[in-house]
Amino acid sequence: MVSAFGIALFGFVLATALATALLRDILAVIVVFAAYSLGMALFYAFLLAPDVAMTEAAIGAGVTTLLLLLTIATTVRDDVGIAIERPNLPALVVFGGLLVVMIGTVTQFPALGSRNAPVWSNPEVTQYYLEHSYKDTKVHNAVTAVLAGYRGFDTFGEAVVVFAAGISTLAVLGREVFTRE
């Protein structure tokens, strides 16, 4: 039953990704891309990565659509009659090459829990965090504990950089974008 859900979700994400790549109308692509983001968030949740799914929810459903809309509001939308884009042959070749490389990489991954995985090349460090992270930070998820606890100042610095970038973007734009010329 788990695999049936996974297959159905995979089909949905594949359909949304293909539609995003092939549709010609930019506004339609933005809407379809939001649907793709919904599917990916479901995938993250299904694979038990709730923090990533939460980020996808905030970024995909909120910020990305707004940014893309703001972008096409300041540019021109060319109105071509065709609905479906004709695939570009060089792009297809690049895509095929990337696909081969990624499938090759995924098949070479060490098995889940394998003792030969690179993470076990330094067992003392791994074991230390697995054993102490809950006691030190009271966070159940060890990855979250490292990200927000042990290297909290680093994550805080990243957040400051993103915030500064957002503020400077606002300063550069400087005006309401959704205005009639």
Binding site: A35, F46, T65
Partner: protein, 105 residues
């Protein structure tokens, strides 16, 4: 699973069955989402597409809640809440875009 004090719980419904039923329901909702996605791709006007994606967003909230019940992960309910809160954003943004551009896109 709450059982009556002192009495052994009668296991008509096993935990595996509950998981299977919830996951099956989630799968059915995903299939419905695929059907709704046809309208997103086909929809002649942008309004059709936005409305269809709004339905997909609501669908996602339901699937997340079903997954939370099936996998026993209550934290997925938080993501469902975030989606329910953010679902209206795109509709509002595209409506504003349409109005400011003047006329129906």
């Amino acid at each position: 699973m709450p059982a009556g004090a002192g009495t052994a719980p009668v296991a008509f419904i096993s935990a595996e069955l509950v998981t299977d039923v919830f996951l099956g329901a989630a799968t059915a909702f995903i299939l419905l989402a695929v059907a709704m996605f046809y309208r997103v791709v086909k929809g002649p006007s942008t309004q059709d597409r936005v409305l269809a994606v709004n339905v997909l967003g609501t669908n996602t909230v339901v699937v997340l809640a079903l997954l939370a019940a099936a996998l026993g992960e209550p934290s997925l309910l938080d993501i469902a809440l975030v989606y329910a809160l953010l679902n209206f954003l795109m509709a509002v943004a595209i409506s504003k875009f349409t109005v400011e551009r003047g006329g129906v896109l």
